[in-house]
Symmetry: C2
Amino acid sequence: MFSGAQISLYPMTDDFVGVIMSALGALDPYRERLRIETDDVSTLLVGPPEVLFPAMRDLFSAAARTGVHCTLSAAISRGCPGEPDDAICASSRFEGSITPLAQRRAKALSAVANAANLDVPSVAQFSLYVMGQGSHMDEIYGCIDFLKQSGTFEKSKHFVTKLRGDSGALFATLEQAFCSFGPPEGHVTIDLTVSANSPSAR
Amino acid sequence: MFSGAQISLYPMTDDFVGVIMSALGALDPYRERLRIETDDVSTLLVGPPEVLFPAMRDLFSAAARTGVHCTLSAAISRGCPGEPDDAICASSRFEGSITPLAQRRAKALSAVANAANLDVPSVAQFSLYVMGQGSHMDEIYGCIDFLKQSGTFEKSKHFVTKLRGDSGALFATLEQAFCSFGPPEGHVTIDLTVSANSPSAR
């Protein structure tokens, strides 16, 4: 199943190029397990969720540690019927048939509870889309139940859910939301914004 | 049908607050026809597409005219079954039953051809999601046909389509993509990034 993301990093400073260039080093441990392509709007990361989410987490956290207000924006996708499969995306995460919602929720909560602490206070705002089936809202509501118990939930807003916490817990929550809801072979996407150091939040 | 967007404006400058505050004046002509709420991550705009897209266009264009590299990020939605209806969203755009794809495409192309010119060269990158039906990819492919003939199409990338042109034509293209594909009463969303003045593009 093809999976990956188009991501953009926005440091709100005159030296945005410098912040981006220095943060890119955080992707080095992941480069062999991701296909990476950059243009003037975004950087494509192709790879399995268990590599993709830690890579986004570390890139964002490196930029946020400069103290500059910065955001990461990402369009994350798995199982899009229009995309060819790619060996680099191989993941055991989606094997087998779908298990009951309660079981998936419990596993997801355990993964968030065990997330690494990166000491980067952040907020995340995202929408989860489950395509190609009539019951897509059941999976969405199941995911919202998980989010509310995750310890990172801040509030529901129109169209999106807002999380707050350490970047480690936030990206663990996002990875679980992405992988644990919707059919294993289904087309699932996330529209994500992560933000740190906003003057509005002080 | 409830419709609106969560939008964020990212000027890549030390004076990002100043650029955002001055650009907000561009929303003034639309304020009576939109519900607007802001927090530390995004601004909610609730209203019909024919107000929403011009408002986003003018906000983005005002920021881009400063010459600063800036991007607008938006999660745009209509018909979400989890949202209550709101009188401010009333629009004649979605009345009647769905017409054949070819007919919708022709109307959409005509709207883009007649778009205002704002003289703000920009790029846009977006994903269109049509939820809650098995044939969602037919509507996506119909939309891609429209985009390829729109005059704003730059290329397809993984997960997203990239447009290039004047901000007037870009937001007209986006409004048509949002309104003309998927069932009139369906749940349709766009994950959008618009960018201007990127040093990478020079």
